[in-house]
């Protein structure tokens, strides 16, 4: 299904001041390839609607370098769960700041964090830490290979597991052998998965999956009934390590890990994003079966013992567990999404927020080519709403009633402008 190009307004959405953003981006373009790269590269979003740079953020709002205030629905692409500059987390970091961040040896915070996470995540007997999700999704599949003595890894087609050559979504810098041992199946297609396993009997080391399918540029897909139980049983039967990539979802579906939201048990799970509430940290947790293999696969990084991030993660995880933050953000997201769907429906825009309520992906029925959602988000941006057209949104516990009511009011204004523009 495609949409008429007449819908594609060629108007520049420059109602907001973006002079500084553009000026700094021009400087960046001279010394940084592409100016800004990766998932926050302008081309991946709405380049003339979203600012290029942020100056500061607090709670659920951020201010760009031109002084425009935005109500944020991306939460640092998921890294912020408890609010920008959460006072409890910042206080915990401040306490450590007087002592230092990176030393020759780890700080005691690393032990405390491992204990806290092992206690809070039911299947886990041990934990290791790094900085990014990619660091540990890649390490986890190596641990699975070490444990099983097998080579192949299965993943869902279109799933994102990081920036390494075996899984990155880019197109360049790859050689054939990078993915020679990576097999793919269509998410939710258990028959296809079991066929792959059968075809490579005793050769598959790991199956790595996100708890639900949250591909960019497409509606999210929840697991079909029975998918996880069948998958878990298949892995157990065939001796395949089931690795849960909970990097994006961790903390937003269940405080004890997203596997509990869907009722299954992985062998290993990787967390990052919300774990440090904005401080760079990732964790891999696993059952004791993988402890020995884990000791054989080298793991380190320049600043991976960073005590500030450990302090932040300790406090962030504690808040999540004691305040049932996942439950809160699911409720917040559900309430907001249903109101947003209702508002757009009154304007005959069939917007559906897909996936879990705490991190929904916006999809307009019949808009596979995404022109309509891009246009909707462009108009919302003129009202200071950071609604991403191609990526799932994120809710956090900091989204207050006031923020959300204000956001819905701005949606009404944006829709009014959008419909005026069409006439």
């Amino acid at each position: 299904m495609v949409i008429s190009l007449d819908w594609l307004s060629v108007i520049y959405f420059t109602q907001m001041n973006r002079k500084n953003s553009d000026r700094w981006f021009e400087r960046a373009g001279k010394v940084i390839p592409g100016g800004i790269y990766g998932h926050v590269a302008p081309v991946a979003g709405l380049p003339r609607s979203f600012p290029h740079y942020c100056e500061r953020a607090s709670g659920a709002r951020f201010v760009d370098v031109d002084g425009n205030e935005w109500i944020d629905f991306m939460c640092g692409f998921g890294a912020i769960l408890h609010g920008y500059l959460n006072s409890e987390i910042e206080h915990a970091v401040d306490l450590q700041r007087s002592k230092g961040s990176v030393f020759n040896q780890p700080s005691l915070l690393m032990v405390e964090l491992a204990e806290r996470m092992v206690e809070g995540i039911d299947f886990a007997d041990w934990a290791v830490f790094a900085k990014n999700g990619s660091d540990l999704t890649t390490w986890a599949i190596r641990v699975a290979r070490e444990k099983t003595g097998r080579e192949f890894v299965i993943k869902a087609k279109g799933a994102y597991h990081g920036v390494d050559a075996w899984c990155d979504p880019g197109l360049g810098g790859r050689i054939h052998s990078d993915r020679e041992k990576i097999l793919e199946f269509k998410w939710n297609d258990f028959d296809q998965l079991s066929d792959l396993v059968k075809k490579r009997a005793n050769q598959v080391a790991a199956l790595i999956l996100t708890p639900y399918h949250h591909a960019a540029f497409a509606p999210s897909e929840m697991p079909l009934s029975g998918f996880w139980s069948e998958t878990e049983a298949l892995c157990k039967k065939e001796g395949i390590a089931l690795i849960l990539d909970d990097v994006r979802t961790g903390g937003r579906l269940h405080d004890g890990g997203s596997h509990r939201y869907f009722g299954f048990t992985p062998d290993m799970a990787v967390y990052s994003k919300a774990l440090g509430n904005g401080y760079a940290i990732s964790a891999c947790l696993a059952s004791s079966n993988f402890r020995e293999a884990a000791t054989e696969v080298f793991l380190t990084g320049s600043c991976w013992n960073d005590a500030f991030a450990m302090a932040a993660a300790n406090k962030s995880f504690e808040i999540s567990q004691t305040q049932n933050v996942a439950g809160q953000v699911l409720r917040i997201g559900s309430d907001f999404s249903s109101k947003l769907e209702n508002i757009t429906a009154t304007r005959e825009i069939p917007l559906k927020m897909t996936g879990p309520a705490s991190m929904p992906y916006p999809f307009i029925s019949g808009d596979e080519s995404l022109f309509k959602i891009q246009r909707f988000c462009q108009f919302c941006a003129t009202e200071g709403l950071y609604f991403h057209p191609h990526h799932n949104w994120f809710f956090g516990s900091m989204h207050t009633e006031k923020d959300l009511t204000d956001a819905l009011r701005r949606v009404e204004l944006a829709l009014g402008k959008m419909l005026d523009d069409e006439q």
Binding site: V2, I3, S4, L5, D6, L8, V10, Y12, D22, F25, E26, G29, P33, G34, G35, I36, Y37, A41, P42, V43, A44, P47, R48, H52, L171, G172, F217, E368, S369, L370, F371, Q374, H390
Partner: protein, 231 residues
């Protein structure tokens, strides 16, 4: 119809297709398109039109890089009148690409060649063909802010992508809109940083962005090969 040839001939074949696309944009008559329509021959030669000029693969590559190369003389003698007309087109296209690429009045000629290069790679370069093979999205509208869409890239059956010098659909899966003719020229000759241009508004990408990302990657790959591959 999709032709078959050894993968080593992708560069001269692409160059010939670029010439054809440029000429069609330069002269919208059917005659020009027919006269310069390339045919791949078995003996490392490429023929323009049914009875026209014939170039050795290496001569075409040389022509693209140095601006001049001789066709096979016997082809000139066999049909001198159509060969001379074809040579005239080749000289005109060569001048535009080599000397007048900053002239906005030739922006569409340059753009047609650049788009045709990408499309040829999508059809005939095994790695590029694989990248777009399973894509369920299959049409891109190309244009400018002032003029709207004026070219279309679309896929027919059997994975054959084509360039149309017109807006052929009311709907597209993605669109590539240039701010003006100058930006179009720069982009066509590969002198525009695509990431910066899409951020500063010189290029507007809309619709299914992954299709445009693949198309852009393929176009850069094709450009690199056309400029630097060994003869």
């Amino acid at each position: 119809m999709k032709v078959t040839f050894p993968s080593s001939r992708i560069v001269p074949w692409t160059l010939a297709r670029c010439v054809w696309a440029s000429v069609k944009e330069l002269d919208h008559s059917n005659h020009a398109g027919e006269l310069m329509h390339p045919h791949i021959c078995d003996d490392k030669r490429i023929k323009f039109g049914n009875s026209g000029l014939v170039f050795h693969d290496n001569s075409l590559i040389k022509a693209a890089r140095s601006g001049f190369a001789l066709p096979c003389l016997w082809s000139l003698l066999r049909s001198p009148s159509s060969s001379i007309r074809a040579l005239k087109y080749l000289i005109d296209v060569g001048n535009i690409h080599n000397k007048q690429w900053e002239n906005p009045s030739f922006s569409k000629v340059l753009l047609a060649a650049a788009l045709e290069a990408s499309i040829t790679y999508m059809n005939y370069h095994s790695e590029c063909e694989r990248l777009v093979r399973d894509h369920r999205f299959s049409s891109i509208g190309v244009g400018s802010i002032d003029q709207g869409v004026f070219m279309t890239i679309s896929r027919r059956d059997a994975n054959l992508w084509e360039l149309h010098n017109a807006k052929i659909n009311q709907t597209y899966d993605a669109s590539l809109i240039f701010a003006n003719d100058q930006v179009m020229c720069l982009s066509a000759v590969g002198k525009l940083d695509h990431m910066l241009a899409s951020a500063d508004g010189n290029i507007q990408l809309r619709g299914y962005i992954p299709l445009l990302e693949k198309f852009g990657y393929i176009s850069r790959l094709a450009k690199r090969d056309l400029l630097h591959s060994n003869e």
